[in-house]
């Protein structure tokens, strides 16, 4: 009898875990049934290695389009927004870059470029981003050495995915803004727009 009652808290906990809500996203029908449900993840699972005011670590990565993109290429020319997403074919990530795809003017207005970065392979990124329509910004693969760029910024999670992070770097290569966002939620666009406003003209 007592043994049964001792189990009650554990049964309740198990019930609540089983009923825990999925990450919040309004899934586009563009992905059909092909998205992998991650469940609720630890909001942040890494330790930043950079801070606002630091020089951003340089990198060179291959884009889905085939070109090599280096952060240094933009030095003295454009502000750069890095959008790291945790993983392709997952709910919240699939619900983020398509929004950036309709606000090119916002980046142009502030003389900024957007670079999308994921630790997924080029092949995976190719098939995934194809569902989003033609993206105007480069999508870079930080696959091998696995997550090296994410690790340099200190946003590689312990499971090998990256954080959902936005990093704004000015034309001098200095980090102006870091948002390591709750991985389960999409960063609101207006927060990024406000940071772009603050960049020197």
């Amino acid at each position: 009898m007592f043994t049964t009652f001792r189990l009650v808290p554990y049964l309740l906990l198990a019930g609540l875990v089983a009923l825990a809500p999925a990450p919040v996203a309004a899934l586009s029908d563009a992905y059909k049934d092909n998205l992998y449900e991650t469940g609720i993840l630890k909001p942040v699972d890494s330790v930043l290695k950079v801070k606002v005011g630091d020089r951003a670590p340089d990198f060179r990565l291959k884009a889905v389009s085939g070109e090599q993109v280096s952060l240094g290429d933009y030095r003295g020319k454009k502000h750069v927004v890095l959008s790291f997403i945790p993983a392709a074919w997952t709910p919240v990530c699939s619900d983020q870059w398509p929004g950036y795809n309709i606000v090119k003017e916002l980046f142009d207005e502030h003389d900024a470029v957007l670079l999308g970065i994921s630790v997924d392979s080029l092949a995976t990124l190719f098939s995934w981003t194809n569902q989003m329509g033609r993206l105007w910004f480069p999508v870079l693969s930080d696959f091998f050495p696995h997550g090296a760029v994410a690790a340099a910024f200190g946003i590689l999670r312990t499971d090998g995915t990256a954080e959902r992070a936005l990093i704004v770097i000015d034309k001098q290569g200095i980090i102006r803004y870091i948002d390591v966002h709750d991985v389960n939620k999409r960063p609101p666009l207006d927060a990024l727009a406000r940071e772009l406003e603050k960049l020197p003209k």
Binding site: F2, F5, A26, S28, D29, A30, D95, G133, P188
Partner: protein, 206 residues
């Protein structure tokens, strides 16, 4: 010995009580965690309110001009729209299909406004699932959306509609007595706007 037995009995009773309370708490939490299903034909829209639009043209379009603004801005239910039918779209500015569909939606609006049979009787309302006011504004400006769009930044309405994928369309028929029923509830683009408007007019008997 007898005293010990009473204490043991009281402890057991307390445990039973705690277990019962915990189960009641769990049962209370379960419905809020479980997603509702989208309303199907013949059913009613789930109960939720939208804020009165700040834009006078939107208020006029929805026939809500007589509504008084409260300190919070005021609100209305979809079925309170001055119309005989409402095409209710769940979209997101982050949804590629909604972006692709936006010109189609504008065509549908223009067809309605250009039709003697539909004008003033069929209205369109869009709700941006997970989109805050800024994001809805971006979508409205980008695609020059002529009908009212509302934010649902915290997915409250989206959850009540069954966590539907986007775009999702619900058509409701509003009766003269103010009652309503859903006549159409489907995921995905409706295709040709002219044919869809014909279908809406047929389904609603307008």
């Amino acid at each position: 010995m007898r005293g010990v037995g009473i204490v043991k009995g009281e402890t057991a009773m307390k445990r039973i009580l705690v277990a019962c309370l915990a189960l009641v708490a769990l049962l209370a939490v379960v419905p809020s965690l479980q997603a509702a299903a989208p309303p199907g034909p013949g059913q009613q829209m789930p109960d939720f309110e939208l804020p009165l639009p700040k834009d006078g043209a939107d208020r006029n379009y929805l026939g809500l001009t007589g509504r008084l603004f409260s300190f919070g801005g005021g609100s209305f239910r979809v079925a309170e729209t001055k119309a005989q039918a409402v095409i209710f779209q769940v979209f997101s500015m982050y949804c590629p299909h909604c972006q692709k569909d936006a010109p189609n939606m504008n065509t549908l609006y223009n067809l309605i406004e250009g039709s003697q049979r539909a004008r003033g009787k069929v209205k369109i309302i869009g709700v941006g699932a997970g989109n805050n006011p800024y994001e809805v504004g971006v979508f409205k400006k980008k695609y020059q959306v002529p009908f009212p769009l509302f934010p649902d930044g915290d997915f409250i309405i989206h959850k009540k509609l069954g966590d539907v994928r986007t775009p999702y369309f619900i058509v409701i028929r509003i009766m003269p007595d103010g009652s309503h029923r859903v006549v159409y509830s489907k995921l995905g683009s409706f295709g040709d706007p002219a044919r869809f408007l014909d279908d809406v007019l047929t389904m609603t008997g307008i």
